[in-house]
Amino acid sequence: MGNNVVVFDKPHGGTPLRLSQPVGTGGEGAVYVVPRPNDGKGIAVKVFSEKKLKESRNFLSEKLAVMVKKGRKNGGTLIRHPGVAWPQMLIYGDDGKFVGYAMRHAKGVTISRLAHAQLYKTHFPNLDRVKVAKMLVKLLKSADDLHRQHIRIGDVNLNNVLCDGDYNPCWIDAGSYQIGVGDENDGPRYPDESAEKFHAKTKIWRCPVGRPEMTPPEHLGKDYSQIDRTYAGDLFSLAILAFQCMMLGKHPYEYIKCGSPVENLMKGHFPYGNSGIPAGRTGDAPQGPWRPMWNHYPDAIKQLCTRALAKEGRRPSARPHLKEWIIALQAYSQTLNQSEKHRREMIPQAAKPQNLTRSQFWGRMRA
């Protein structure tokens, strides 16, 4: 789709929406911002590429129709959610065929610019640990809300979240999420993986895209369009995303000396934290600012990362739930706000303050 293409909000006789410069383009299509027909407010319109439509127009139009319908349920919880750009209506070409969908126009830039050792200085110049923690709390609460609505995000990555200058994150690319019909009674949200079965009457529209370095080990190497995403799978990918945000974009399985990120992910080879590989051995945490950056996080957060990303995290049911992440991150931002003792900057220069034992304390007093 080039510039000045006109699309419609109904298959026939709809209001014309004139598309000009896209605000974003990707492998699947392009996103434009246009005034909404009824009130002139800006909405974002995603128009799939010709190629994508040729491959899967029916799948997409069916899935998006289900999403729009689901979004209006419960008084429009999903459509009105400030942390998710949920599909609001389907969009058609002048031949009346489905070409895309419209959603709220979320402000900001992708968090691949926040979780980036250089670009945060341009886009989030006042970034610090409190702001990262608070942003992540909001982001994970929104993810939890999606899970509560029986949605699996699937393709979790730094390009699928926008964040504004006040650190309000918003999930985008909702069209790729896995959604089902008839799965409202599929039991508790975090059952054991083996028990996470779908209701016999459930029809699922899968999430056909993903990135290997963000994919839980149990789904790795499989065709994304053939697997049922799980809550536990999202917990794994979200832990990687949280780590990247806290570590200025460093991928948790990215090493200097051994293995590709995907090989390390398969093995649960997570080099940070107490259970990690000692410094100096093959596969230890990378040098440079990463070690102090990591060391200044509190144990509660380090443990969550370890439980999700080290060996035990290969067992889906062992991964920490979103609630645990939210509580730990909230506690961390409160501690930082209340006490000057802890460093707020992303890359602290000073050593981490230690909790002294009684004898250490008196030893120092005497000295």
Binding site: Q118, L119, N159, H251, E254, P286
Partner: protein, 205 residues
């Protein structure tokens, strides 16, 4: 790392288009903020003698390059050796500093065949690097005088050289800057899907 043939056979339109292509490449790649902060560029030319036209440097420190002029014979082996040495040196610096990096790319463009004696050795060295996934090697042949078989010896078996369609230097460098921007947004150690080469590749050969 660009390793470019500027020997006398490049005289005329070829060198003019190459200069324009490199200029446009620098401009386009600088417009991408991810690439600007993570790509490093080096240029080695060979024509009569081997020159480090641009010492390896972060893109944001690179000033515009002077135009190349065509001259002399084709010491391609020596040029490839110099380029590999520069890459290895940079990699070792990264390793010591604990900086993770993407596999380096080495683009080798020529319209002829090497005239130096030691080219076999350099070809083997480069091919081995590519086979061991230590570098991505892209061999580009310019015009029909280029000896594809010789150029192929510098390239990995699974990624043979490609002949440039006509003088589509512009299309090639646009593809290269687009690829670099995708690579710089990906996780080090992962290879993103690259755009199609149909825009510049001569598919008939």
């Amino acid at each position: 790392m660009l390793v470019l043939d500027v020997s006398s056979s490049m005289e005329g339109q070829k060198i003019a288009e190459l200069n324009e292509g490199v200029r446009q490449f620098l401009q386009e790649i600088r417009e991408d903020e991810f690439a600007l902060h993570s790509v490093e560029l080096g240029v080695v030319t060979f024509g009569g003698r081997v020159t480090a036209a641009l010492e390896f440097a972060p893109l944001k420190d690179v000033v515009d390059l002077q135009n190349f002029s065509a001259f002399g014979n084709t010491p391609m082996g020596e040029a490839v050796n110099l380029a590999i040495d520069a890459l290895e040196k940079r990699k070792n610096q990264y390793k010591r500093a604990g900086v993770s990096y993407h596999q380096p790319w080495l683009v080798l463009m020529t319209d002829g065949m090497p005239t130096d004696y030691s080219w076999n050795e350099a070809a083997q060295r480069l091919r081995q690097m590519a086979d061991n996934k230590k570098a991505v090697v892209i061999g580009v042949a310019i015009g029909h005088e280029c000896d594809m078989q010789t150029l192929a010896e510098f390239c990995p078996a699974d990624k043979p050289p490609v002949r440039l369609s006509g003088l589509k230097f512009g299309e090639f460098f646009a593809w290269l800057s687009h690829s670099m921007s995708l690579v710089s947004q990906s996780t080090p150690g992962m290879s993103p899907d690259l755009p199609s080469i149909d825009g510049w590749a001569d598919i008939e050969t």
